[in-house]
Amino acid sequence: MNFKGKVFVANGSLSRAARLHCSDEGWLELSDEQGATRARFDELDISAAIGNQPRAISFSNGDRFVADQPLELNAWLDKHGQSSLLKSFEKNFLVIAVAILVSAMVVYVSIEQGLPRLSQSLAKHIPDVVAVELEERTLEQLESVGFEPTEIDTETQQLIQGNFQQLVSSIDDLHPSPQLLFYKLSDQANAFALANGSIIVTDKLVELMQQPEQLNGILLHELAHVAHNDVMAGLVRSALVSTAVVLLVGDSSLLVDGLVSAAVLGLSMGYSREAEASADLFACQWSQKLGLSEQHLLSGYQHLFEYAKADIPSWISSHPGDEERLEQLIQCSASTE
């Protein structure tokens, strides 16, 4: 078969008209006004088959042939063993459908399962000095973000500290020995754990409780985060997410900048729902083991939820919905009786 086209001669940029004779026996002959060259397929450099791109044929002497009707040459090359499996995959709807499905599944599973597990196991290997340093810095900065010294009277503080120490001493498995700290944060009722195991409770949360014992459930929940090393795992997770996102979209322009920050924020906000659910379970189980009143546990949670009454729908927040959580707690305490 013959193809008309042009040849860029001997590594040069100038072209002249040429003819390519393609033999079914596996060799090609390039001829123009100056003469002819013949070569077998394995001596040629044929540009890759991608989509409908014209395929150029380079000879070892630096000549490069481009057909006037590139699609016809492409078709001839395809028929004579120069096609590419890859190209047929890329045009096959079944392969594409499978590829979409598999990729979506892999992305989903690695975010849902792989990410929390990987961050938990990496967090275990982070040296303690890092946790200590992080916690110190967080404590130093608390005041600058609106935390004020507590206004709870010493008596109540001592009562709660006593309860807390009792909890801590009865739970094995707590690697750093946690401290309980009180702070006032305007009207916000909240409790959270820091990187090295300290737990911070706000004044408003203490006020909400009719009896100090009602706080035990929430303290146990936070101690669960300490026992499970959730704080460091959360930090590792956000580091992983940002690195992965940057690597994935690394070669694109700034159009993804916004997307990147949104994705990083969405995936790294707070602990995962699983971590929250398992902390609730931990609180419930330990309160049973220690023979604490289950009424206190439930009412402590209830007081907090009623006050906070989160406006954020559960799919966006890291905590599972309040009702869901209470129901699970009730189930849990009922189950072992």
């Binding site: 014209p54 159009l255 997307l259």
Partner: protein, 398 residues
């Protein structure tokens, strides 16, 4: 006959989103199945698609990098990243040394990167090349920026001090203005040095590119963009202040009610909540938009200017005509497409951007009569060079 007007050869991009989608998703699949190893082949195939579909004066570009070169580069880059992340836990001194070494090596890596990227690009049977020397690179990317910054700071301190002696108010005003103008000018100078170095060292075969970049022109662009950014920022802050003022002065009680309602969380406050979140959302979004606008505007103007100053031995002249607002439009719509398709529209976004960029770019002159000879061949790449080349390509990605 058009004797005076040179022939205008616009770029065109022939890729199609549907076609590229197949290539892209198969790349993703194979990359997943091979635990990332295929990503080097995927990168080559993506590049081949985009280069091969970029047409100028009837001929396509070619991307000639070998996947193995890229794979080696990725492995080495990965080792470096791991060292970078893990070292601080082992020894702070070692990680500091690594950081310094990285800064010190940066110019070399950049040169190798530019060289690799241009050498694997071919047009009309002739490869591009980058001939910049390491010495010049150190001067341009490390020494001069340092000297400029240092002298700027010295001048700023001295001038501010002198004027403060006369009057502290005058000293303050002069310092702020001098700082704003000075920092812009220093950055323009540095940017000019860098683009002069890069553009003038590109080769196509035996022909040299040359670009006459004027720091005053770059300064003008920077000033304009800075003024727009600053103006927009002040404008948004003013609007914010007016909203706050109106809200708090007209009816404090109503606002308080609104907040109280949000706390109660009843059904009827959806409107109030919506209003507040709406206003906050719009303001937040406008700051983002302003940022994107400034970036798009700067990129477009700089590209247009630099291309306009670049020619190939007075035979061919580069031309770029990126319209900032249209560029911003493509950028933003691409982002929305990507987000709302959960990433599946990435191929469409890439094809749209390539189309837009090709349409805004042209070369003036009789391309097909320019006689040129390839100077670079595959066989010249030694193994050590290849490793270095491969390593440096990935530097841009990190």
């Amino acid at each position: 006959m058009e004797d005076y007007k040179p022939q205008n050869n616009p770029f065109s991009f022939n890729g199609r989103a549907g076609e590229f989608f197949g290539i892209w998703i198969v790349n993703v699949l194979l990359t997943i199945l091979t635990l990332g190893i295929y990503s080097a082949w995927a990168k080559v195939r993506n590049k081949q698609y985009f280069y091969g579909n970029t047409e100028l004066a009837g001929e396509n570009f070619e991307y000639l990098a070998k996947p193995l070169q890229i794979l080696i580069g990725r492995v080495i880059a990965l080792v470096c990243v791991i060292a970078w992340v893990a070292l601080p836990a082992v020894s702070e001194a070692a990680s500091a040394i690594l950081g310094l070494a990285f800064v010190a090596l940066m110019p070399v890596l950049m040169v190798k990167n530019l060289r690799f990227d241009s050498r694997v690009t071919r047009y009309r049977n002739v490869r591009f090349d980058f001939a910049g020397s390491y010495g010049e690179a150190y001067k341009t990317f490390l020494v001069l920026p340092f000297v400029y910054m240092l002298s700027f700071i010295l001048i700023l301190v001295v001038v501010s001090y002198v004027f403060t002696l006369i009057s502290s108010v005058l000293g303050g005003i002069i310092s702020v203005v001098l700082f704003g103008l000075g920092i812009t000018y220093v950055n323009a100078m540095i940017a000019t040095q860098m683009s002069t170095y890069i553009l003038n060292n590109y080769r196509w075969g035996k022909l040299q590119f040359s670009a006459d970049i004027d720091s005053r022109a770059v300064f003008k662009i920077f000033l304009k963009v800075a003024a727009m950014g600053l103006g927009g920022f002040i404008g948004l802050m003013l609007i914010l202040a007016v909203i706050a003022f109106v809200a708090f002065s007209t009816d404090l009680g109503q606002i308080a009610m609104m907040f109280a309602n949000i706390g109660e969380g009843g059904l009827q406050d959806f409107a109030a909540k919506g209003l507040i979140f709406g206003v906050i959302g719009v303001i937040y979004l406008s700051f983002f938009l302003l940022g994107w606008f400034v970036t798009a505007y700067l990129q477009a103007c700089i590209r247009n200017y630099q291309f306009g100053q670049t020619d190939l031995e007075s035979k061919l002249y580069m031309d770029s005509n990126v319209k900032p607002m249209a560029f911003l439009g493509v950028m933003l719509s691409n982002m929305l497409l990507t987000v709302f398709s959960l990433g599946l529209a990435i191929p469409l976004a890439k094809v749209r951007m390539a189309n837009f960029m090709a349409d805004a770019t042209a070369v003036m002159g009789e391309i097909d009569t320019v006689a040129n000879q390839n100077q670079v061949s595959d066989s010249t790449t030694a193994i050590s060079d290849e490793v270095a080349d491969a390593f440096s390509i990935e530097v841009g990605v990190i």
